[in-house]
């Protein structure tokens, strides 16, 4: 029996539930559906939901807890001597048994383990059948419940809609679950990291050089985990990107909404949006191979020393990438400003540019702040461009001509280079991720406050 058969059976049951509940409701009023509280199909939907909810719940429970339960049952049934042989290291035993279950005697020849595997497999099968039976049974019960409920006075639509509402709520909860998942997948390793490196040093240290020994013959313990240069680098590059994307995006939005005719607008807007769809790897190469050398040569022409991997090159290209975020969303914000405000200003004899800068932009500010925020978010979280163009040098500087590195670059480097999950070097990637998460969270809270405040004043 496979999952697909189980799901097919449940699906068929759900269909039966639909027609059973529907037909009962129609039959009870002798075909005069006007006497029903809800439409017949609502009774049907309710029937479907009553079948699906319990049976799928049972199945999900099995998916989540089944293996754990089966394994503990199996372990408790093992002869003592087998367990004793793995005293304190049950997981090794468990692993062997699991492999034996999967591979049989091909790679396992200890008869005790094989017996255990046999036992495990029987238990597992039993469990699977039990789950199947239970989900069928609960599904049938659900169906019976729905059919029994299918009275003319039963508010099937309302009940079905409450179920739908729960689905909507669950959907919006996924964002929270994702966040929890991210925090959880970062927190554990981060804590291990902070057990080795004090939080204070990490947050306020000015020197980043994650060269702790991955193995004993590497540079030992000289690791310096001061993350400030990384965050400063992130800030610098994001700032540069915003310096490019902010004016270009905002001015484009203004031109498109205020000056351009509709044809121009309908062409230029999607063209600019292509910029957001170009893969970041491509931007990375563009930055590293085309823009950075060009900047360097230009700099030399002016006698300005520009590093081969300057923050400027990465920031510039990243700025190009986020132009559409600023332009499209500002466009929306500007269009949303009531026409009356614009007319009010024009009627006082203001020129169009005065109207834009003095009336429209202030009024659109919350929306524009939101646009910039999303753009900054993208810049802060962007990885591939900086990996390729910005280099890896932790450098606490505000000079855009120098090389800097960013949090995301370090995370990628630490997670894709030679790593060891027992050393602070690799673990620091998780800590960086966590702190970045907290910082952007703070940023978003602040932004929400700001936007709310503006809304209170101006609406």
């Amino acid at each position: 029996m496979t999952i697909s058969t189980i799901f097919t059976v449940i699906a068929v049951l759900a269909l039966i539930g639909f027609s059973a509940a529907r037909q009962r409701s129609v039959a009870l009023v002798g075909g005069d559906t006007a006497k029903l509280h809800s439409l017949p199909r609502h009774y049907g939907y309710f029937g479907t939901a009553c079948v699906l909810l319990p049976s799928i719940t049972v199945f999900v429970l099995w998916l989540v807890f089944g293996q754990t339960v089966v394994e503990s049952l199996m372990l408790s049934g093992l002869p003592d001597k087998v367990v004793a042989a793995y005293d304190g290291e049950i997981h090794i035993l468990l692993n062997r048994i699991r492999i034996a279950v999967e591979q049989g005697s091909r790679i396992e020849n200890d008869p005790d383990i094989l017996n255990a595997a046999e036992h495990y497999f029987r238990l597992y099968k039993t469990g699977l059948w039990a789950t199947f039976g239970l989900s069928l049974a609960t599904g049938l019960m659900g169906m019976a419940f729905a059919v029994n409920k299918a009275h003319p006075s039963f508010r099937a639509r309302n009940r079905f809609e409450s179920i739908l509402m729960v689905c909507l709520m669950v959907s919006s909860g996924i964002a929270i679950v994702t966040t929890l998942g991210i925090v959880a997948s970062l927190l554990f390793e981060s804590l291990r990291f902070f057990a080795e490196v004090p939080v204070g040093e990490f947050l306020f240290g000015l020197h980043w050089s994650p060269q702790t020994a991955l193995r004993a013959d590497q540079v030992g313990s000289s690791g310096a985990f001061g993350a400030v240069p990384l965050f400063a680098g992130t800030l610098l590059i994001s700032f540069l990107a915003l310096l490019v994307a902010g004016p270009i995006g905002l001015l484009s939005a203004i031109y498109l909404t205020q000056y351009a005719n509709t044809t121009v607008r309908s062409i230029v807007k999607p063209v600019l949006e292509i910029l957001a769809g170009v893969p970041t790897v491509v931007y990375g190469f563009f930055a590293a191979i085309t823009v950075a050398p060009w900047l360097r040569r230009t700099g030399e022409g002016f006698g300005i020393p520009i590093a081969a991997e300057s923050a400027l090159a990465a920031g510039l290209v990243m700025g190009i990438m986020i132009i559409p975020f600023v332009s499209s969303l500002s466009d929306d914000a500007i269009t949303a400003v009531p026409k009356e405000l614009e007319e009010g200003s024009l009627a006082l004899g203001a020129t169009r540019s005065e109207t834009i800068t003095k009336v429209i932009l202030p009024a659109a500010l919350p929306g524009i702040v939101g646009a910039f925020l999303l753009a900054i978010s993208r810049a802060v979280g962007e990885t591939m461009i900086v990996v390729m163009a910005a280099g890896m040098r932790p450098n606490l500087t505000a000079n855009p001509f120098e090389a800097v590195t960013t949090v995301t670059v370090q995370i990628v480097a630490l997670l894709t280079g030679d790593q060891a999950f027992d050393s602070a070097k690799t673990l620091s990637a998780f800590a960086l991720g966590l702190i970045l998460f907290i910082i952007t969270l703070g940023l978003n809270v602040a932004a929400l406050r700001l936007v709310r405040k503006y809304r209170e004043i101006y609406e």
Binding site: I176, G277, V278, P279, R378, M384, I411, T416
Partner: protein, 442 residues
């Protein structure tokens, strides 16, 4: 305060004709023009960037769609391949599989260059043609056993180095020691060219095959399928969930701290570095749920979580923009809140929702970093057919090729970028077409 009597500024009419005033007005008009020019410049700058980028890619990448071939008289020797008239089908197949195709190629080359004798020269001679030529011949023999015993002119793939020389991508003016392609090989190549045996043709294989470490055999189709499958999963998950949460937040959620929390959360998720989503995918979908590594299903789910905020934010904006009068109308007819949303609000908001989906999917299409953690950055020759097969995606393929030492991968990289951009444009095209269908009548 009532200073109406104290002869204030307003009592005398403004003198619009005064020189000061007209100068002022002139200055204001100049500022107006400058402002407008700035706006135009901004747009031109953006467009220029895009153009330079595309130009760069296309000029580098066009060569990747072409491939040099060398036409050689290959004799399909039954001693090498096995004799189909003697062997049964299965045995013939096995015998072809085990046959030393290099011998056939060498024979063909020797016929062309009878003067080449020494074994080291012969070894270099064989390298004029691609290693893939062996598989090309094998394929021919298997498909058409009648070939055995005959001699045919076959357009064999040139090796990547020769291909690059022909395309002018390798500098042959440097001293011989600094080149992979030596003078002798160049001499042979010239002779082949003089005999009209070298051709440069559109390279179908690039569009139809999977990855390979031989640039002349490497194809993009595996990555295209991988991207398609992955994005399918992403769409199937992110779209309904994104739209449903947008509906809840915009239409039903009470204004309270929990809603604020969700809103901040969603905005914040947009700022989480994409590689962190990879970590999440690794921890949850691979380690806890036990989904297969490198599979589009995992990549799709991970990218879906990453795309979700974009779709939710855009959908909320679209739903908010639906005129309340439509909701009133439906409610006034006795539609329940759910019916109002699903029958009226959603269809009207759909174009905006689709726009958000386009942006989100485009972002997902271009992502590499999160896939690193879940094993989709890998060398995979087979073309995936289901969401459980191991696969890679277009940007990863680009990244991998870009990292390859072989020179010929440089143009393949740009060609792959062109394919990706084409994929992107197709995807957007479908969405825009859908959007227009929704916008059509009303």
């Amino acid at each position: 305060m009532t200073n109406t009597e104290t002869g204030h500024t307003l009592s005398k009419p403004t003198d619009w004709q005064s020189t000061a005033m007209s100068r002022r007005v002139q200055a204001r008009y100049v500022r107006e023009r400058i402002f407008k020019v700035f706006g135009l410049l901004a747009i031109l700058t953006g467009a220029t960037f895009l153009f330079v980028l595309l130009f760069n890619i296309v000029s580098d990448g066009m060569g990747g769609f072409y491939q040099a071939r060398i036409k050689l008289e290959v004799s399909f020797d039954p001693d090498v391949l096995g004799d189909p008239s003697v062997l049964n089908e299965e045995d013939f197949e096995r015998s072809v599989y085990q046959a030393n195709m290099t011998q056939l190629i060498l024979g063909a080359l020797q016929r062309q260059f009878p003067d080449v004798r020494t074994s080291s020269d012969l070894r270099r001679l064989v390298r004029l043609v691609s290693r893939g030529a062996r598989w090309q011949l094998r394929h021919m023999a298997l498909k058409n056993p009648d070939l055995v015993g005959t001699t045919r002119a076959v357009d064999l793939l040139a090796s990547d180095d020769i291909d690059q020389v022909i395309k002018g991508n390798i500098n042959i003016d440097v001293p011989e020691s600094d080149r992979r392609v030596k003078d002798k090989e160049l001499g042979w190549l010239t002779r082949l060219q003089d005999a009209g045996l070298v051709s440069k043709k559109f390279h179908h294989l690039f569009l139809t095959s999977g990855d390979s470490r031989e640039p002349e055999l490497a194809g993009i189709w595996g990555a295209v399928m991988g991207s398609a499958l992955t994005l399918l999963v992403t769409l199937v998950i992110a779209f309904p969930i994104g739209v449903m949460s947008a509906i809840y937040l915009e239409e039903f959620a009470p204004q309270n701290r929990l809603t604020d929390l969700i809103e901040i959360n969603i905005n914040n998720l947009a700022a989480v570095p994409s590689i962190v989503f990879g970590l999440l995918g690794l921890a949850v979908f691979l380690n806890v749920v036990g989904l297969p590594r490198s599979a589009p299903i995992v990549g799709g789910v991970t990218l879906a979580l990453m795309t979700l905020p974009t779709i939710i934010i855009a959908s909320r904006a679209a739903i908010k923009a639906v005129p309340p009068s439509i909701r009133d109308a439906a409610r006034g007819l006795g539609a329940s809140p759910m019916q109002v949303v699903f029958h009226h609000v959603l269809p009207v908001a759909m174009p905006g929702i689709l726009t958000g989906t386009i942006i989100g999917m485009a972002q997902a299409l271009g992502e590499t970093a999160p896939l690193l953690m879940i094993g989709m950055v890998a060398f995979i020759v087979d073309i995936p057919n289901s969401i459980n097969d191991a696969a890679t995606v277009l940007p990863v393929q680009i990244y991998l090729w870009a990292e390859s030492p072989e020179r010929a991968f440089v143009e393949k990289t740009s060609a792959a970028i062109m394919v990706l951009m084409f994929f992107l444009i197709c995807m957007n095209g479908v969405a825009i077409w859908l959007r227009q269908r929704f916008e059509k009548n009303w």
